[in-house]
């Protein structure tokens, strides 16, 4: 059973619809105590980093996610903002501390690349930097995914990054480290290629 964390911000319905379409069991997790019934965790997300962190604290998900991921070693997949939340900190609307699971930062695209339209929105390529489990069974020419974001991830250690995307700069867009996974794009909105990413996570 895959638990989709509901911290009242993401487009949970489409993530769950995608799993249902793939015949993969999933449930919406409204309360931290329900995580124990799930073998894997999906952390979705649309919205602002600071607000998300605040909500995770309010609902009690913050410590419980850290415990389940770092101590119990449950596989986790962060989607878009959900990936960013796994990092140490973000510059979004003031500096905010994330879950601190992946060493690195979330940086403003506008600051880094003022001449490019922000948000980075639309379909873009992901280049495999090292063997990626999430990109398994997706042909190189089909590694095109749907993005919507204004901040991007920069990991301290390149070894934790298995995919990058070019948008004036190279952004870290897939992170994989042991049982910890994240993608900056929306697999639930990326047609066949995206569904395969979710399938790959479920098959781990």
């Amino acid at each position: 059973m895959i638990g989709i964390i509901n911290y009242r911000m993401g487009n949970l319905a489409s993530v769950q619809h995608a799993f249902t379409h793939l015949n993969i069991e999933s449930r919406i997790v409204d309360h931290p105590s329900e995580i124990k019934e799930c073998a894997k965790i999906v952390l979705p997300g649309v919205g602002a980093f600071g607000k998300a962190v605040q909500t995770l604290h309010e609902v009690g998900f913050f410590e419980s996610l850290q415990e389940n991921i770092l101590v119990k070693k449950k596989p986790v997949l962060g989607l878009c903002l959900g990936m960013q939340l796994l990092f140490d900190e973000s510059e979004e609307m003031g500096d905010h501390k994330g879950l601190g699971i992946i060493p690195g930062k979330v940086i403003s695209l506008k600051k880094e690349k003022p001449s490019f339209p922000v948000p980075h929105m639309g379909w873009n390529n992901v280049t495999e930097k090292q063997p990626s489990l999430l990109l398994k069974n997706i042909h190189e020419e089909d590694r095109i995914f749907y993005f919507v974001h204004s901040y991007y991830c920069k990991a301290n250690d390149d070894k934790s990054i298995s995919g990058t995307t070019e948008y004036g700069i190279n952004m870290d867009t897939i992170t994989e480290q042991a049982h910890i996974f994240g993608c900056q794009f929306h697999p639930e909105k990326s047609q066949h290629s995206g569904l395969q990413v979710l399938k790959n996570f479920a098959a781990l």
């Binding site: 487009n11 319905a13 489409s14 619809h17 379409h21 339209p117 929105m121 639309g122 379909w123 047609q191």
Partner: protein, 261 residues
């Protein structure tokens, strides 16, 4: 780099997908779900649904191909979001935050405001504050009158007298995430895109522009993409009537060096 999108637009009238001409003549094409499945099979970049029903409530009164009928925008979005794993934009008749909340909660990634944005610009700001700029598209219908592009609202029936360029600039100020441009004069005419006007709007704003109206064959897509920095190439009718139209158009765009998926 980000790809140029090719986007089928589906017009829904009284619960059925229709072909539109001059914003006036509407021919039934079929059931919303069946049509959606067809486009889904083509692995499209994105879908835009615009409900052009004149009445807010309607009863379809018929069932196509054993698929139940849908009597509202809301029911339709619930059903299509279970079938579609691509960005979905819904528009038509949106006048308040209640409509927007409902559509986004039930699976729309973006909502498209037209008359609603023109008559109550505050709604655009409220919506972007809640859902982010990427979720709000402003759709603009225009006609060329003596060489000048003029904004029309209310299904293209009301001449606002406002210049298209002025309104496009205003849309950016209001905080919209995208502009969806529709040339009423070219609706259903298959005479090619209004490249000159589209190019001007793209120059005037930094917003991504999706252009619609006039597509007659795949060369029209190539011309538009070559001559302007358009972000999205949209068409309605052409995709309905031509077998394998979508993959064929993609192939043609690729062959001509356009960066598509």
């Amino acid at each position: 780099m980000v790809k140029t999108r090719l986007i089928p637009v589906l017009y829904i009238k009284n619960g059925l997908i229709v072909r539109s001409e001059d914003f006036t003549y509407h021919q039934n094409i079929g059931n919303v779900v069946n049509q959606t499945q067809r486009y889904n099979g083509w692995n499209v970049d994105e879908l835009i649904y615009i409900d052009i029903s004149r009445e807010s409530h309607y009863d379809l009164g018929r069932d196509d191909h054993k698929v139940g009928s849908y009597s509202s925008h809301e029911e339709i979005v619930k059903v299509i979001s279970k079938e579609c794993f691509m960005p979905l934009t819904l528009g038509g008749g949106i006048r308040g935050m209640g409509d927007i909340n409902y559509l986004i909660r039930n699976g729309a990634d973006k909502v498209s405001l037209n008359t609603g944005a023109f008559e109550s610009p505050g709604l655009v700001q409220e919506a972007t504050n809640t859902y982010g700029v990427q979720a709000i598209v402003i759709s603009i219908d225009y006609r060329l009158i003596n060489g000048a592009s003029v904004v029309f609202t209310n299904f293209g029936t009301v001449n606002t007298g406002v210049s298209l360029m002025d309104w496009a600039v205003e849309c950016e100020k209001l905080g919209a995430g995208e502009i969806f441009l529709n040339a009423i004069d070219r609706d259903g005419k298959a005479c090619g895109y209004d490249i000159e006007t589209i190019g001007k709007v793209i120059e005037k704003t930094s917003l991504p522009v999706i252009a619609c109206g006039g597509a007659g064959n795949e060369y029209d897509f190539v011309e538009l993409a070559k001559q302007t920095k358009v972000s999205g190439i949209a068409a309605g009718n052409w995709f309905h009537f031509v077998e394998g139209s979508y993959p064929r158009a993609k192939k043609m765009l690729k062959k001509n060096g356009i960066n598509v998926r």
